[in-house]
């Protein structure tokens, strides 16, 4: 299911925007104030508190993103369509949405900014002269701001031939390929227990099997490997497997013996298994260089996820697979997206991209006050009786 995106373009958002993190640590104290503390999760629960000075409800003053609806009607419609707390949606915190670069203008050559459009009043980004931006080309280039200004309302096609690109009142000069080594480093972890990474049908596919039947891999020298029948002929002869559990301690083996765990299949099916150490890089943003946070939802509208290994650009689908959310291997567990490498990366692995926060409304009730004809407010100067804020809170990816 595709999640809706919070309408940042609604006019009237005012300062301050409060952002709170929460960890729910369990703290047990004794009379002597000796404590035992238990951490309950690694990825912070974030809360945003937003207020809107005004929400326009004038049918003669609508913006292209919401036409024919006014800001107020589109905004309240968005809240209603999410049924209060019920539905998850995606929130682009424009001042905290980049991986591998600064979210705000003013980046340097070694740590550039990403490019944000200035679509609406309140969301305008001024790029100071002399600063740098990593563009969104398939091979990102480093663009220097040679004329400071506010970016335009659309993402331009940035020059890659040493030329200039204008966007709004800002002008950018292509200075060459962005060195991936300067992007944000990702952790690299490995499953060294030699799990089964691939399995195809061996010399025998048995008979009478059904899709979903389980078989235990007893050959190949390892333990714990479980395959499921992914496809079979009409007579139940296995034609392909999926890996339920990779197990550990296996070696690449042809015609590894299998034991039937479920279903009514018969015969002596075998599998050609491949076993090797598998390498992963969880997609995480590094906050202040000190805190790794799993990213569950990538924003590829402007920036596709770009990955380098030791400064060499890598290709999705060839060098790695982008999988998730959710990864667990012996010794490690991650909530977000991750890269599964085809071969061991040289490291360091670095990445550039953008992400969303997965959130929901924190309350089923939202107070929006009408203080004048065609004008509403949430916590603005004219607010009198309402709660005065819109609150968003992190929503976890659904488990099982």
């Amino acid at each position: 299911m595709t999640l809706a995106i919070y309408p940042n373009a609604v006019r009237g958002l005012m300062w301050p925007v409060m952002k709170t993190h929460d960890f729910d640590t369990v703290v047990q104290k004794g009379a002597n104030r000796s404590e035992v503390r238990i951490n309950q999760y690694l990825n912070a629960i974030w809360h945003w508190t937003l207020s809107y000075e005004y929400l326009k409800d004038n049918p003669q003053d609508v913006i292209a993103a919401f036409t024919p609806y006014t800001d107020y009607r589109f905004f309240e419609g968005f809240i209603l369509s999410n049924l209060g707390q019920f539905q998850n949606f995606l929130f682009d915190d424009l001042y905290d949405d980049s991986l591998g670069a600064n979210a705000l203008p003013g980046g340097t050559a070694t740590l550039p900014s990403i490019f944000h459009t200035s679509n609406y009043p309140g969301w305008q980004f001024y790029y100071p002269q002399g600063t740098y931006v990593a563009d969104n080309n398939a091979v990102p280039h480093l663009q220097q701001v040679i004329q400071g200004g506010i970016s335009g309302t659309t993402v331009p096609s940035f020059s890659t031939g040493g030329g200039t690109t204008a966007s709004g009142t800002a002008i950018f000069l292509d200075t060459g390929v962005f060195s991936g080594a300067n992007a944000q480093q990702l952790q690299t972890v490995s499953d060294t227990t030699d799990p089964i990474s691939a399995a195809t049908v061996g010399s025998s596919g048995g008979s009478g099997f059904a899709v979903g039947d389980y078989l235990s891999v007893t050959g190949g020298g390892g333990t714990g490997g479980i395959l499921a029948v992914a496809s079979a002929t009409s007579l139940g002869v296995i034609t392909s497997f999926s890996i339920v559990a990779g197990g550990s301690g296996y070696t690449t083996t042809a015609n590894a013996s299998l034991v039937i765990l479920s279903g009514s299949g018969t015969g002596s099916p075998t599998a050609d298994i491949t076993a090797a150490t598998v390498y992963y890089s969880p997609v995480q943003r590094n906050f202040g260089g000190q805190y790794f946070e799993d990213i569950t939802d990538l924003n590829v509208t402007t920036y596709p996820l770009t990955v380098w290994d030791n400064g060499v650009l890598k290709t999705a689908g060839v060098d790695y697979q982008l999988l998730g959310p959710g990864l667990t291997i012996p010794g490690f567990s991650f909530e977000g997206m991750y890269l599964q490498w085809t071969a061991a990366p040289t490291t360091p692995v670095t990445a550039l991209g953008q992400f969303y926060f997965r959130v929901r409304f924190e309350s089923d009730q939202q107070d929006i006050e009408q203080f004048m004809q065609k004008l509403w407010t949430v916590g603005g100067e004219k607010s009198k009786n309402g709660a005065g804020f819109i609150k968003l809170v992190t929503a976890r990816v659904p488990g099982i």
Partner: protein
């Protein structure tokens, strides 16, 4: 708990802990693997546990043989549809059908030296038992389990004497009278939710299309369980049999008919011997709880004979 883990616990006051909950058997594709950690955890000894909205009641530890009860509240993720196939059905529907009754429940507590590492120190067994009742609420499945000691909560010897004998000859399944194997059947037309027609599948000990007599399963209280397999829709479900008899159907075909006490949630899918697709089932005879039962079945009696109270004997 190993000495290493004990040393870790005593040396620290900051911990990363998580519950690992397994409902079902490790090799069962329908087993439920849950954890209250935010991301999936691998405990290599058993497997991968998935993050879920799950809570459990506290566990008390005391001396004695009294069985403990455990309540686990699990809310499966939304948007799971009700189907007519136990492999794909919503957990809410399966719970309502009693699919999880008597499943094994095991809970471990893992002590993680680093967040997400459920392997280095492993996990300590926290609770083990079997599902006793399952309640389905609007937003949760509440699983009540009794620990393994519940099996000791039977007063002996009355429960192994004659007609109150519930354990005599209990071997899981019991072959029909005169046979050494459990018969397997393919569902035949026209079967319904209470009348199951079966044609024996060619297995050792049974000829093709074998018809069993009325006394062969020691009815009432023989029982029937559907298998997993290609085209199976009732895998794992079944019920007690009130009566079995021969059924002569269309074109003079003979089948075994089993009449169930309680209806199935939906009618079984007929079995096609050519494509080997459809519902199949096996039938176990009822245990012989009295000497008369055993004699009629040709079995040696495995319980205690009834001994009248001395004062009642003339």
């Amino acid at each position: 708990m190993t000495a290493t883990v004990a040393a870790y616990l005593s040396a620290n006051n900051q911990f990363y802990l998580a519950d690992l909950i397994l409902i079902g058997e490790v090799t069962d594709p329908n087993a439920i693997w849950l954890t209250n950690w935010a991301s999936p955890l691998t405990y290599s000894l058993y497997g991968k546990f998935n993050p879920a909205a799950v809570t459990r009641q506290a566990i008390s530890s005391k001396v004695g043989l009294s069985a403990e009860a455990m309540k686990i509240t699990w809310t499966p993720k939304a948007a799971q549809t009700f189907t007519v196939n136990t492999s794909t059905d919503s957990p809410f529907h399966l719970a309502q059908l009693g699919f999880y009754d008597n499943w094994r429940v095991r809970i471990w507590r893992t002590f993680m030296p680093t967040p997400g590492d459920a392997n280095t120190y492993g996990a300590a067994a926290w609770f083990g038992g079997f599902v006793s009742t399952v309640e389905v609420d609007r937003d949760a499945i509440i699983i009540n389990a009794n620990d393994y000691r519940y099996a000791l909560n039977y007063m002996v010897p009355p429960n192994v004497i004659e007609v109150t004998n519930t354990f005599a000859h209990f071997v899981g399944t019991k072959p029909p009278k005169g046979f050494a194997h459990i018969p397997q059947f393919g569902v035949a037309v026209p079967s319904s939710t209470t009348s199951i027609l079966g044609d024996t599948l060619p297995l050792a000990g049974f000829g093709a299309h074998h018809i069993f007599g009325r006394g062969d399963f020691n009815n009432p209280m023989a029982w029937l369980i559907f298998n997993n397999g290609p085209g199976a829709t009732l895998a794992g479900l079944g019920g007690p049999i009130g009566m079995n008899q021969e059924f002569v159907g269309e074109f003079g075909l003979h089948f075994n008919q089993f009449l169930l006490y309680t209806p199935l949630p939906w009618a079984p899918t007929p079995y096609n011997a050519s494509s080997m697709m459809g519902d199949t089932f096996y039938v176990s005879a009822a245990p012989t709880v009295s000497q008369a039962d055993a004699a009629g079945f040709g079995d040696p009696y495995g319980g205690f004979p009834f001994v009248p109270y001395p004062s009642s004997v003339p």
